[in-house]
């Protein structure tokens, strides 16, 4: 089965404009010879067809799910799914009365489709013709139809000869009860939907992003929309057996939601979502085939949720772990700049400011003293200082006494220059108050790049400053505890 995954994985490397041909090719491959060429474990031919069929369903569900999510219509699939139950039961009654095989999909699925669509249309009708909003309408339709279905199922269960055996598979999903023809039906439906989506990719894209543009370009938006709903209904109906009506919504929503963590473009999102849906559906089907007592719907959802959690944590575009890592990195860099600046400010206060003209080691200072210019906990001070020592910026002379190395002096002067140039900029150009200046500079200096720095030097400092460090515009350190009149006098 992994080879299916590898095949779909190859999709990520291809050029997206030619996606259509690859997708079609793979779909055709799966339909024709591929079934024989996969000989995994000890699955018989029937099982293989079931697994391939279910994966194609997952593939199509993942793709359609992205579109539903983008159109904010995802839950309509859930309404359709729940509304299929009375249809299944009714179809079973009718078939039994006519003495046809009541468990044939050709009898059950049309019944499911009819009430499913009636359910969806009821939601739309309630929303359009009454002041009730869509979510409430969905809640009403979903529960009423499902309740009616459950009542009918009870009646079927009480019919003689255990007729109902197998029908409950539609509620929770049971791939083990799937027959060869059922799997083919699923596979063909899935492949058809994927084919149509590839064919009408631009129309669908336009409709999902900006309907007004699609209309002004003359595309039949309403028809495309109906097509999307038809595809949703088809996936829900043919997926009933594999996933079950309660959980089929997971096939539409979870892969699509997970895919958003990996990419910021539409077709890669759809491909990723399809891939996730495919893996989820295939593994669920395999699990359920090997352990027939595990409902396949549950197995599929569990696999999907694992894939979703992985995406949410490690997704390249928005994954939590990367975001944390980025934030941690940023904080660390900010801390380092702050400490460097504090060291400079402290030494400046003491009248021995470091300079990078041949000075190889700055005056020493006590780490505790830095608390005066930067209000950090001793632990945070020590941690940052230790990191500096590792990087060769600081030198620990004794227990608490430190000094800047030559590299340290360089970086220190650079950090303070950036800060003070920005302060000058805010004072001269943006006309901020002195209190706001320090904060403004503090906030923006970490985003400065070399080019912006060069512009600052040219615009603000000009030739008058050269490479020197400008004086601070405000008193340094904790003014309440110590008085620094000299600084205040310089800047009335």
């Amino acid at each position: 089965m992994m080879s299916v995954g590898i095949l779909f994985g190859m999709l990520f490397g291809i050029h997206w404009e030619s996606l259509s041909f690859h997708l079609l090719g793979i779909a055709m491959l799966l339909e024709s010879e591929a079934v024989e060429s996969f000989t995994p474990l000890t699955f018989d031919y029937n099982t293989q067809v079931v697994v391939v069929g279910t994966s194609l369903l997952g593939f199509a569900g993942g793709a359609i799910g992205v579109l539903l999510l983008l159109r904010k219509r995802a839950l309509i699939g859930d309404a359709i799914a729940h509304a299929t139950l009375p249809g299944l039961a009714l179809a079973f009654f009718v078939a039994t009365a006519l003495q046809i095989d009541g468990k044939s999909l050709w009898v059950l699925l049309p019944g499911a489709a009819i009430t499913g669509l009636i359910g969806a249309m009821t939601v739309v009708a309630i929303r359009t013709f009454s002041p009730i909003k869509e979510d409430a309408a969905m809640g009403i339709v979903l529960s009423v139809f499902f309740g009616a279905g459950i009542a009918m199922m009870r009646i079927i269960q009480q019919m003689p000869d255990g007729y109902a055996a197998g029908l409950e598979g539609f509620i929770f999903g049971k791939t083990a009860s799937m027959r060869f023809q059922d799997a083919w039906l699923i596979a063909v439906s899935g492949a058809t939907i994927i084919g149509l989506l590839v064919l009408f990719r631009r129309q669908v894209e336009l409709m999902c992003f900006d309907e007004s543009l699609a209309r002004t370009q003359g595309w039949p938006v309403t028809l495309v929309d109906i097509g999307l709903m038809a595809a949703t209904t088809t996936i829900v109906i043919v997926g009933l057996q594999a996933v079950g009506m309660i959980l089929i919504i997971a096939m539409l929503v979870i892969p699509a939601a997970a895919a958003r963590f990996w990419t910021w473009r539409l077709w890669p999102t759809i491909a990723t979502s399809s891939f996730i849906g495919c893996i989820g559906a295939a593994s669920g089907a395999i699990i359920s085939t090997m352990a027939p007592r595990v409902p396949s719907g549950a197995a599929i959802v569990i696999v999907l949720v694992i894939l979703f959690s992985f995406s949410a944590l490690f997704g390249r575009k928005n994954g939590t772990v990367w975001r944390w890592a980025r934030r941690y990195q940023q904080r660390r860099e900010t801390d380092q700049q702050h400490l460097l600046r504090s060291i400079y400010e402290w030494l400046e206060l003491k009248g021995s400011k470091p300079h990078d003209f041949g000075q190889t080691r700055s005056e020493s200072f006590l780490l505790n003293d830095l608390e005066f210019v930067r209000n950090w906990s001793p632990l945070r001070l020590a941690r940052t200082a230790n990191r500096f020592q590792r990087d060769g910026l600081l030198l620990q002379l004794s227990q608490n006494r430190w000094a800047l190395t030559a590299t340290g002096i360089q970086q220190c002067v650079r950090a303070i220059r950036q800060h003070r140039l920005l302060e000058l900029y805010f004072a001269q150009i943006a006309n901020l108050s002195p209190e706001a200046i320090d904060r403004g500079a503090d906030y923006s200096e970490h985003a400065l790049n070399d080019q912006m720095l060069a512009e600052l030097e040219r615009d603000i400092a000009g030739a008058s400053i050269g490479y020197a460090v400008p004086d601070s515009l405000h008193p340094i350190g904790n003014v309440q505890s110590l008085n620094h009149q000299s600084r205040n006098e310089a800047n009335p």
Partner: protein, 253 residues
């Protein structure tokens, strides 16, 4: 005439939004569409494009029915009309402008890609081409929309508040772009809010407040009297009529 509207009326739930609007816009003009809130400016654009149902009246564009000149008209909707969290890059969005002429199924050709490229260049967002649209500022979003319309290579542009809440650089880029379109002989109709810049940006003016108050070249139309008539006295009779209708409906058992 680029646009010619006769006796067009549009109503939302019995409240008239546009009332017997008559309007002629000559080809090649840069037109400002100005009026107070609720004057029906956006609705007028949508009605021209057949996107809202009209109760009566007719629209002709370049002397023809809109359906027959569709490809010669580009529409720039309000920025807020789409979800900017949509997974797409700036290039993707701009390329969408070329879909109308790209046919149903076949992959896009170099021609479409070049058109998107040129459009981005013209509004100065080429360096943003590969940036996801959810990372754009408001002004950048607006420029992306403008580029999308340019990529359509239309002859008539309808823009709904392109200057709303954009930065100075974007405003300048849009104005430059509008001027260039006029030099190429294109017609542009722009919904605009800022009365200070109206005479500077446009050379033709439509003052709208449910009805067309005045239409004509800027110098003749942008007068205190016309502005007073547009913004000052509301069309009180219409207001009263719709209020009366509302009250009567509410009084029904």
């Amino acid at each position: 005439m680029a646009i010619s509207i006769r006796a067009m009326t549009v109503a939302y739930q019995r409240k008239p939004v546009l009332w017997e609007v008559n309007l002629d816009i000559p080809t090649g003009k840069l037109v400002g569409l100005v009026g107070p809130n609720g004057a029906g400016k956006s609705t007028l654009l949508k009605a021209i494009l057949g996107m809202v149902p009209t109760i009566g009246g007719s629209v002709s564009i370049f002397g023809l029915d809109y359906q027959d000149v569709r490809s010669r008209v580009a529409y720039v909707p309000q920025r807020s009309s789409v979800d900017w969290d949509f997974p797409a890059t700036v290039r993707d969005v701009v390329t969408m402008g070329t879909y109308g002429s790209a046919g149903w199924f076949w992959p896009l050709t170099k021609r479409e890609r070049n058109r998107a490229h040129e459009a981005m260049e013209q509004v100065g967002i080429l360096d943003l081409a590969n940036r996801p649209i959810n990372q754009l500022s408001g002004g950048q979003q607006q420029r992306a929309f403008l580029a999308r319309a340019l990529a359509q290579q239309a002859d008539l542009f309808l823009m709904d508040e392109p200057f709303a809440a954009v930065d100075a650089a974007t405003e300048r880029a849009i104005v430059d772009c509008l001027r260039r379109l006029q030099e190429l002989g294109k017609t542009t109709l722009v919904v605009h809010h800022d009365l200070h810049t109206v005479p500077e940006y446009f050379d033709y003016l439509v003052l709208l407040n449910v009805r067309t108050v005045a239409v004509g070249p800027m110098a003749e139309t942008f007068t205190d009297e016309n502005l007073q008539r547009t913004y000052g006295g509301r069309l009180t009779i219409l207001d009263e009529v719709s209020e009366a209708i509302r009250r009567r409906e509410a009084a029904r058992p």
